[in-house]
């Protein structure tokens, strides 16, 4: 995909997706049981030890007896709440003196901006090392076969790291601003959180030091470790270490947010029960972590893609254009690679939310937050349009693609139909007169497209269509020569037609089933979609063996529409990330910590969708202004080395051969 050896990279991609799926599936099925079992075991041991200590203390020195209390989340085997020794103070009943304000904006809005900006940058600086690790690894692996390409990969990884370095400092500054905002505007709440997470916060700070140290060695040691093969592997290993520390950092910070949303390790009064792991490892910690890793990859891909697209538009010569066109492609590939499993991580997260408190899940999906999910649907539709538009336009620069270009218009038509269905609301707010005129809360015809049966069908068809588009893109310049070409093509056709037929059939069938059974149909629908992805891609790649090429990909000839499609994807990722973050956070409604610390500030209300939308737009634009500044600062130290491809080497990479 990214270089000459398509098959190995394709297999690698497939392997990574499968590995991710294998990682996710057990978690999605057994995580709750495992967590309870583990918690029970740990707690039983600890409780026994403390009980003995307490008894000894009482017998010996007459110290006060330890008070025991019930955990709000963790349960034992029998479903009874776990008990733990009270080791902290009760959550405060916050009053006006616990909130400070400025006149120009509500405290909550200020905190939102500070938090969101920090998260955007944090996401970027966590994503870039993942890219660098993968790209540098591919560079090392291809060095023997194709040193020119290896150098290109190495340069790309380094360029990205350079930008990330500036962004890293920026992230730290934004983190400081966030911390001060928290302390100054929400002192009462912060005091409680600091009381619970005191050790975690210190570990976090130390991990930050470790991250900085490894980052600097990794970046500034690039040249010194460049030439020696062993040292280069060491250097690449540093990127692995960097990512590990970064992931730990992110998980530690996540624990504060997940604790606020679904607390554990405390009793109903908010008193810490002595086990910090319980507080960290609350029920949403794992799904949020996985979701954020994937989200970071997607968001990082979007930023790098937009960065490359911008440089593509400003390129001074053909070589530069070709280089940045290729970088765009790599970034988009990584972003979409992360995007495909993202919904499944989202499902897992929602499953855990429902498991924690059903009414929280329903508030999200059917209550006051439901309209925000309609907006999410629109955003996902935009992403699919953007991704397909990029692929369609990208295909135009591939020789031999004329065979498939004629199908693009039908795919666009399908996407439009599905998108329309996907964003049709179930019910809308109406005046009584309008309600009477329409004959009910649902429109007699259009209303049928507002239910989950239609929506699941629409979104699965959209994903299937995108997969098909991707397969066509892959084979655009290939002349398939394997003897089983006809059989292979028939299989691919059968898989796609079968999947589409199954998705549509199940969608229609859903109308005839009660709600609780209808929900179950989404699983075979998603399975059909994933079959097209995995089986379709596998067969497609297998057919490339000994294939002949219609010609090289004309890197540097990307149309402006394709380039702007990348911009569209980047801004959509940014906005969508803000939206989903807002949804996750605001579902706490009027609680700082769900059911434990009530938000008694004047800002405890949930914003209207319009107000939230304006904030999301502000945050998205504001962060991009900062990204422009950061990229500009990063470019100040750039040595202007013209990107020139050596003679005899296709420009710059023939990823399809």
């Amino acid at each position: 995909m990214l270089g000459k050896n398509t098959r190995s990279i394709g297999t690698l991609s497939l392997g990574l997706v499968l590995a991710l799926a294998i990682y996710l599936i057990p978690g999605m099925t057994g995580i709750a049981d495992a967590k309870e079992a583990f918690a029970e075991q740990v707690f039983a041991e600890e409780a026994f030890a403390k009980e003995v200590q307490a008894e000894e203390a009482v017998e010996g020195e007459g110290e006060p007896e330890i008070e025991w209390s019930q955990d709000v989340f963790y349960k034992d085997w029998e479903g009874n709440p776990l008990k733990g020794p009270v080791s902290g103070y009760a959550a405060p009943e916050l009053g006006p003196e616990d909130y400070n304000t400025y006149e120009f904006a509500p405290s909550r809005i200020i905190l939102w901006v500070a938090n969101q900006q920090h998260l955007y940058f944090g996401s970027f600086v966590l994503a870039v090392p993942i890219f660098c690790m993968i790209i540098e690894f591919i560079g090392i692996r291809t060095r023997d076969d194709d040193p020119v390409m290896a150098d290109k990969y190495d340069r790309l990884a380094r360029d990205l790291m350079k930008v990330s370095l500036t962004a890293y400092s920026w992230t730290a500054i934004l983190g400081g601003i966030l911390l001060f905002t928290f302390i100054t505007l929400f002192p009462g709440f912060f005091k409680y959180m600091a009381g619970i997470f005191r050790p975690v916060m210190h570990v976090y700070a130390l991990m930050f030091l470790a991250e900085s140290g490894v980052l600097y060695v990794y970046y500034y040691g690039w040249d010194k470790m460049m030439d020696d093969k062993f040292l280069k592997w060491i250097h690449c290993s540093l990127s692995v270490l960097l990512n590990l520390i970064g992931t730990v950092l992110m998980y530690l910070a996540n624990s504060w947010a997940t604790f606020m949303q679904a607390p554990g390790g405390i009793d109903s009064e908010g008193r810490f029960l002595g086990n910090i792991w319980h507080v960290i490892h609350s029920t949403l910690w794992n799904p949020v972590g996985v979701h954020r890793i994937l989200g970071n990859i997607v968001f990082g891909g979007g930023i790098v893609g937009a960065y490359a697209a911008y440089h593509y538009l400003t390129a001074k010569n053909e070589e530069e254009k070709a280089h940045y066109d290729w970088v765009c492609y790599v970034a988009m590939f990584i972003a979409i690679f992360g995007l495909i499993p993202l919904p499944f991580a989202g499902y897992w997260l929602m499953k855990e939310v429902y498991a924690f408190r059903q009414q929280m899940g329903i508030t999200l999906m059917g209550g006051i937050m439901a309209w925000l999910f309609i907006i999410q649907a629109v955003m996902i539709g935009l992403l699919f349009f953007g991704a397909n538009s990029y692929l369609h336009n990208g295909m135009a620069r591939v020789k031999g693609s004329h065979r498939y270009m004629k199908y693009c218009k039908y795919m666009v038509l399908l996407l439009i139909c599905c998108f329309t269905m996907w964003m049709t609301p179930h019910t809308i707010v109406m005046t009584p007169a309008e309600l009477k005129e329409m004959g009910g809360a649902q429109h007699p015809v259009v209303g049928h497209f507002g239910v989950m049966s239609a929506k699941n069908t629409a979104v699965n068809l959209m994903i299937t269509c995108t997969v098909l588009c991707f397969l066509l893109y892959q084979r655009a310049n290939k002349k398939i020569t394997v003897p089983w070409a006809t059989v292979g093509n028939c299989w691919i056709t059968a898989i796609f037609i079968g999947a589409a037929a199954n998705i549509i059939f199940l969608g229609v069938y859903g109308y005839f089933l009660p709600a609780n059974q209808r929900v179950g149909l989404s699983v075979p629908q998603v399975t059909s979609t994933l079959t097209t992805l995995f089986a379709g891609t596998a067969i497609n790649i297998s057919m490339f063996k000994d294939s002949e090429s219609y010609g090289d990909i004309q890197w540097g000839t990307q149309s402006k529409v394709g380039t702007y499609a990348i911009f569209l994807l980047a801004i959509s990722f940014t906005w969508l990330m803000g939206l989903m973050g807002y949804i996750r956070s605001s579902v706490r409604l009027f609680w700082h910590v769900t059911e434990v610390v009530r938000d008694n500030s004047v800002d405890a209300y949930t914003l209207t969708i319009g107000e939230a939308g304006k904030m999301l737009t502000f945050n998205a634009l504001f962060v991009w202004v900062q990204f422009v500044v950061v990229f500009w600062v990063g470019s100040l130290t750039a040595k202007k080395i013209p990107a020139k491809a050596p003679e005899g080497v296709p420009v710059p990479a023939q990823q399809q051969q």
């Binding site: 538009l313 400003t314 309209w371 629109v378 809360a441 009530r598 209207t608 304006k614 737009t617």
Partner: protein
């Protein structure tokens, strides 16, 4: 953002536009210096003036509050920027400059357009702000059973109902339960007929044993199943028969949902209820609130009939320790949440939000049949009242009178001819000035000024 504050998005955009105008000015100057034959004085002057204009408009934006900012931005600032873009294009064209606006500018406008369109889309959707529920519903003095059951209804459904949208009160019940006969689309049992079922259910064999046996403690809630006298004291029934009655079953269902799980609606083979314990966070109903909900559930299937209600009224409840706050004009989830009307709402929503229908009959507003205050037929009444010798206000026309009445209800107290006395002075809140934006006030005044008795009345 509060109405008296700046709009963060449009303030930001105005700053960006000012920077953009400065950039354009610099760009034009640069082209003028690079090329001969361009009238740099003319073009520099034009774009310099535009940059200054944009700067001044940005400064002006910060002197406005958010509603006015929005109007100014879209009515003036945006058009100025578009005009500047047009003139910039003319500059390029007339001077035959091929290398035109930099990609960064195009990308900026592309990003801004997409993002602002998304913000616009969110503002096009129905707007609903959710205020936190009061910590405890208020009770006003002695209540009738009808009022008590209504209190229960408000806890379940909220005071404000919007057509076509599920209305949810502090209790959050409609998130899962349905209440109408034949509606089985809910995630939890339909509560139509629950009063009757409450008497039958406790006699079922399944109730006696599943998921916990009568007399055993249900661990999640700590409630002893089927024992009304072992309910925590603050919620325990005071008085009444010794046996476990329908009221006790309903109370138990609220306080211990897992004590009995209706078939097909539970987890783990119908042994665990997904329903939260409603006397615990996040819902945390008080004794009076639980009783009000039970009163509503017992009476809802027989409108106007309260014979089946067995819970005592708050004033008669021996177990009521007076935990409920006593406050005038209370009800449901509206009391303690800050109410503010921006004017973006439709008039029905505005009037409902402000609570006018509680006291006034307002033609054209569904459900506004209040009797505590005068009927609002202001198109006819206002001119007459202005002429009334007792009128001491400053209004000279209908709109001014209506506005004055809203902001200063005591300025003129209307005489109730049917009762032969004035309407009570001081009943109408004097805080509407703090709850209405300028736009909302104007909208409300416009509407009420046009109210008149329905034709034929």
């Amino acid at each position: 953002m509060l109405p008296e504050q700046h709009d963060i998005l449009f303030s930001f955009l105005s700053i960006m536009f000012a920077v953009f105008a400065l950039y354009v000015f610099g760009n034009v100057i640069q082209h003028c210096r690079e090329r001969e034959g361009i009238n740099s004085t003319l073009w520099g002057g034009i774009f310099g003036a535009m940059a200054i204009t944009c700067f001044l408009m940005t400064v002006h934006m910060f002197s406005l509050v958010q509603g006015d900012q929005l109007v100014f931005f879209f009515s003036t600032y945006l058009w100025t920027i578009l005009f500047m873009l047009l003139v910039w294009g003319v500059f390029f064209k007339s001077n035959k400059i091929e290398r035109q606006s930099a990609p960064i500018i195009r990308a900026f406008f592309f990003y801004t357009t997409i993002s602002v369109l998304l913000a616009g889309y969110t503002n096009w959707l129905p707007q609903q702000r959710s205020d936190p529920p009061p910590k405890e519903a208020a009770v006003v003095g002695d209540m009738t059973m009808e009022e008590f059951a209504e209190m229960g209804r408000v806890i379940i459904f909220g005071a404000k109902q919007v057509a076509g949208q599920k209305s949810i009160g502090k209790g959050q019940c409609p998130l899962c339960h349905t209440f109408d006969p034949g509606d089985h689309m809910g995630r939890c049992p339909n509560l139509f007929g629950v009063e009757k079922r409450s008497h039958d259910r406790v006699k079922e064999d399944r109730y006696a044993t599943s998921p916990v046996a009568v007399g055993e403690v249900e661990p999640a809630s700590g409630i002893v199943k089927g024992k009304h006298d072992e309910v925590p004291e603050e919620y325990r029934r005071a008085g009444g028969p010794d046996e476990f009655i329908g009221e006790d079953y309903l109370r138990e269902s609220l306080m211990c949902p897992t004590c009995y799980v209706v078939k097909g609606f539970g987890k783990a083979n119908d042994t665990k209820s997904p329903m939260p314990v409603i006397v615990k966070p996040p819902i945390s109903l008080s004794r009076v609130e639980v009783n009000a909900v039970v009163a509503y559930l017992q009476s809802k299937d027989t409108p106007g009939e309260f014979a089946s209600v067995t819970v005592p009224l708050p004033q008669d409840d021996a177990g009521n320790t007076g935990g409920a706050v006593v406050e005038e004009d209370s009800g449901g989830d509206e009391e303690e949440g800050p109410v503010f009307v921006t004017g973006n709402e439709d008039i029905q929503t505005m009037i409902n939000t402000l609570g006018c229908p509680l006291c006034h009959t307002i033609p054209g507003v569904e459900g506004a049949v209040g009797e505590l205050g005068p009927k609002l037929h202001e198109k006819i009444n206002a001119p007459e009242r202005i002429k009334d010798p007792n009128y001491k206000g400053k209004a000279t026309n209908t709109k001014e009178y209506v506005k004055e009445s809203i902001l200063c209800p005591g300025c003129y107290v209307v005489f109730n001819e049917e009762a032969g006395e004035s309407y009570p002075d001081g009943l109408m809140p004097t805080t509407f000035g703090e709850q209405l934006s300028v736009r909302a006030l104007d909208k409300l005044v416009d509407f009420i000024s046009q109210t008149e008795p329905p034709a034929g009345s």
